[in-house]
Amino acid sequence: MFYHTQTGIWEEVPNPFCGIAADDLKVKVEDNRLTIIENGCPVTQPAFEQAIGDSTPQIQGKATRLETAIARANKLLSHSRLPLISGLATDVEGVRAALALADYYGAVIDHMDSKATLRNMLALQTGGWITTTLGEVRNRVDLLLVVGSDIESCLPRFFERYIWNSETLFGQDTAQRKIIYLGQSPSGQAACRPDGRAPLILSCKQEELPEVVAVLRAQAVGHPLQAESVAGITMEKLATLVNRLKQAQYGVITWAAEQWNFPHAELTIQMLGEIIMALNKTTRCSGLPLGGRNGQVTANQVCTWQTGYPIPISFARGYPDYDPYHYNTKRLLESGEADALIWISALDQNDRPPITSIPTVVLGRAGMNFTQVPEVFIPIGTPGIDHGGHAYRTDNVIAVPLHKLRESRLPSAAEILYAMLEYRC
């Protein structure tokens, strides 16, 4: 259970910063300084340990009272034709409050990483998919195919927790699990078996992935092809790969969409979905989209239950409207359609708003520094550190409870957003 073992030490702390949302962290709190003393990782450690810094609200860089900052933010909103609420790196409660504000002002709502999430959502909306969750992977996977992604750079503890775990429910020897990388090679050693053997790698350039996956799909569904190789990988190797997937009892195909920078990556995910569906005719195989940093999955889930759509959504017509291309933050700022920006970034001081000429209100993690001073800056606390909340894991199924670890008196994003609604002009 989440608890204090001794003064200033918290055990079993859930992690809001990484998509696997591990809840086995041990965190020390001295004054307001946090240190992870067990189970940190290169993604999590710096996020937990950022110093609070100045927590005074500011208008144009000058210290002000919270009430005054909120009043100024409200004035901006009430004069705006099309406000844009973005960033959205917060917890479930923060997204709920942001949606209430967006609904009231007819704003567009988007997330700083929506491009990555959307690749998965578009694939799901077009063809559906078969996926699994981390707990199933931990206990059942016998073959893991990693497509075009370097898992350990985004989820450093993935292999330790879900692949090389010491026991499984069904007595599987996890050291015998087969790992295959298609495309990208791993950047570190995490994917190597406990005995040191490296995973099998079928490498190609990232922009060649769509072609390779298309050929793999053709093999999986049984369409014969004339070609002898694709992107330097022989047909024989791909045929062997399909066979291994067919022989696996519980294969898992994984990818991190945020690492894909080629156009229409959603089509490649859709093809992976079709491969998985074909395999399920005779065996079990599932997809596992990885990523979910900065509250991407959290934002998507809450937006979907409250409006019917994942992000991005516009309320400009008085009802929620979903258009992945049109309501993109970058596009709305570049085209000049948005005329006020509310940027929510509770998780990382470094996730600052994009440089823009339109007036900007930042609800940012206390201690945030700016290259471009925003019109209003309201320092907020971080869920899972300064206040409780909820965050979603990368597999879209599990939400972890986040706990308050220190007494910083920093408000949550939700508290500020609800206050903005209450004192609207």
Binding site: M1, F2, E12, I20, D23, D24, V92, R96, A100, D103, Y104, L124, Q125, G127, G128, W129, I130, T131, T132, T133, L134, G135, E136, N139, R140, Y162, E167, T168, L169, F170, Q249, Y250, T283, R284, S286, N300, Q301, V302, T304, W305, Q306, T307, G308, Y309, F315, G318, Y319, P320, D321, Y322, G388, H390, N396, V397, I398, A399, V400, P401, A414, Y418
Partner: protein, 555 residues
């Protein structure tokens, strides 16, 4: 504030009141005795109006990860059905799988004041409660899913004694903040993870060697011994399979007289006779229900049109996925706990199978004698969206309308059905039983579903009309906990309902073993799995009501 409802014709089956003119007084959210000399602040004259308790839906998929995946999968439903915000109401969208605010508004507008989500996966319960927490106006609650969880199956495989199993069931109810326990395709979802595509009632499942019947018996017994008011809520084996009638009959006969609720029974009442190897088993099922007083059912009526099937039964959903319309589907294996299968579907009145399914549901409604043991559901959204309830009520209350509809469906299905020969028409009293009093009784909600002194003032008032679809679509007034929330079918005030839960007693020493299991096999700690009361009550939007577990032998 004291409110008086005067002159209305009251239907309150819990008190045997069948259309009597009575006055009702409301104070502090409750129905109270006639006051002696207190001033009355507000009077509603209800001459020629029908007064019933707020309606209760015992089985509707309104919140939980499965529902949200279905929402994501079908933006077309939301694009086609935008719901703009108003001064009072939040925006939303959707008809067949509406967003949370829309769900609350639409239910309340029809006079419903409580709705229960039947598929709360314990591992996903936090999400189910967060989604339901964003449904305004109505009360809600969930049934926690067991019977495919590896922990429970291991207990059964190890032949752990019933007492230990009961403790586990009680612990799950508490940890997931639920009102009852549901089992979906007992053992089948788990078997699907081992690549098994079918599991029969008496077939030992993979790895654990436990049969579905053993799972049903153990769970039903656990709830009975824990005195949980709501009996085991069962989505049986072989959903939708022609000939599954035999499985269902065997399930009923084999439960050893223990209380059991069979959900969406229509999907489990199929014969395999005739040229198309698909026939109605409604008569045999209804007869078995009539004969076994321990059995209750809800129908899961299908109605024609586009919908989406949302189920934890990944095994059966997978078997049906080739019938998807539009052609896309989503399946998830979930956390050694259960699964999820989403398949969009369009029921067509000119399709023989769909048309016969329609008649089978109606036949069951009309052939089960006791309205206290059959409940009005469409298994929203599986059979049809919940907004079609008024239409369904008319089909039950108006024989000539029913026969007009029967004349429009696939002629072979109409010919194959006995529906045209059934003369029964439900009365207002019977409708009040199946949608109010019976539902509250089945769930153990002693202060809901009736209009007695001390009951929560959840009250719906309709204008008497010949066309029952019109009548039930648009109540004149809906009071929720004594506050007027709907007038002339329109919401005038937004409140937040209560989450109903039970907390049977159990020996907490089982946490030691459970905690060890979580640490060894699952990526979450037991302490973070448990849902705390504070999580259910945020920004003043939620409440919890704990219902007592029935005292032994008191019925």
């Amino acid at each position: 504030m004291l409110i008086k409802l005067t002159g209305g014709t009251v239907y309150d089956p819990m008190h045997g009141i069948n259309g009597e003119v009575r006055d009702i007084y409301i104070q502090d959210g409750r129905i109270t005795d006639p006051p002696n000399d207190m001033p009355i602040h507000q009077v509603y004259s209800l001459n020629n109006k029908i007064v019933m308790a707020g309606a209760i839906d015992i089985h509707s998929h309104i919140g939980g990860g499965n529902v949200n995946i279905a929402r994501t999968l079908l933006p077309e439903d939301h694009w086609a059905n935008p719901l703009p915000h108003t001064e009072l109401l939040r925006a939303g969208s959707g008809h067949i799988i509406p967003s949370t605010f829309a769900t609350g508004y639409r239910y309340a507008e029809m006079g419903y004041t409580a709705v229960f989500e039947p598929a709360v996966l314990p591992m996903n319960a936090r999400q189910a409660h967060m989604e339901m927490g964003d449904i305004p106006l109505i009360d809600k609650g969930g049934y926690a899913l067991l019977g495919n969880d590896d922990y429970g199956l291991r207990m059964l495989a190890a032949n752990k004694d019933q007492k230990a199993f009961n403790d586990y069931v009680a612990w799950i109810l508490r940890a997931s903040q639920c009102l009852g326990i549901k089992v979906v395709n007992p053992g089948g979802i788990n078997a699907f993870k081992f690549n098994q595509r079918r599991l029969h009632l008496d077939e030992p499942g993979p790895y654990y060697g436990v049969t579905p019947r053993q799972i049903l018996l153990r769970l039903a017994r656990a709830l009975h011994e824990l005195d949980v008011p709501h009996p085991l809520h069962v989505h049986g084996c072989n959903l939708g399979v022609p000939g599954n009638l035999e499985t269902t009959l065997s399930t009923i006969e084999g439960i050893a007289g223990l209380p059991m609720h069979l959900a969406h029974i229509q999907f489990h009442s199929y014969g395999a006779e005739g040229d198309r190897k698909f026939s109605s088993g409604a008569a045999q099922i209804a007869e078995a229900v009539n004969r076994n007083p321990n059995i209750t059912v809800d129908v899961g009526q299908i109605l024609f049109g586009q919908t989406v099937t949302v189920s934890s039964d990944s095994m059966q959903q997978y078997a049906n996925h080739l019938h998807a319309y539009p052609k896309k589907w989503a399946f998830v294996d979930i956390e050694c706990d259960a699964g999820c299968g989403i398949v969009p579907f369009k029921y067509l009145d000119k399709n023989f199978v769909n048309a016969l399914q329609w008649t089978i549901g109606l036949e069951i409604f009309l052939l089960v004698d006791d309205p206290w043991r059959v409940f009005l559901t469409t298994d929203h959204p599986n059979g049809a969206p919940f907004v079609s309830y008024p239409h369904l009520i008319r089909l039950l209350m108006d024989r000539s309308f029913r026969n007009d509809m029967l004349a429009t469906i696939h002629p072979d299905a109409a010919r194959a059905s006995t529906l045209g020969a059934i003369t029964r028409e439900y009365s207002l009293y019977e409708i009040a039983v199946m949608t109010r009093a019976g539902a509250a009784k089945l769930l153990g909600l002693s202060d809901r579903g009736h209009l007695g002194i001390g009951a929560a003032a959840d009250i719906t008032v309709y204008t008497k009309q010949e066309d029952k679809e019109k009548m039930f679509s648009k109540p004149d007034y809906v009071f929720k906990d004594g506050e007027l929330i709907v007038r002339n079918g329109e919401i005038i005030k937004v409140t937040w309902g209560t989450t109903h839960v039970v907390r049977p007693e159990f020996d907490n020493s089982i946490e030691k073993e459970l905690s060890n299991y979580f640490d060894r096999y699952l990526p979450m700690k037991l302490g973070n799995f448990k849902i705390h009361d504070e999580e259910m009550i945020y920004f003043g939007q939620g409440h919890i009501q704990v219902h007592p577990c029935r005292e032994r032998n008191s019925s």
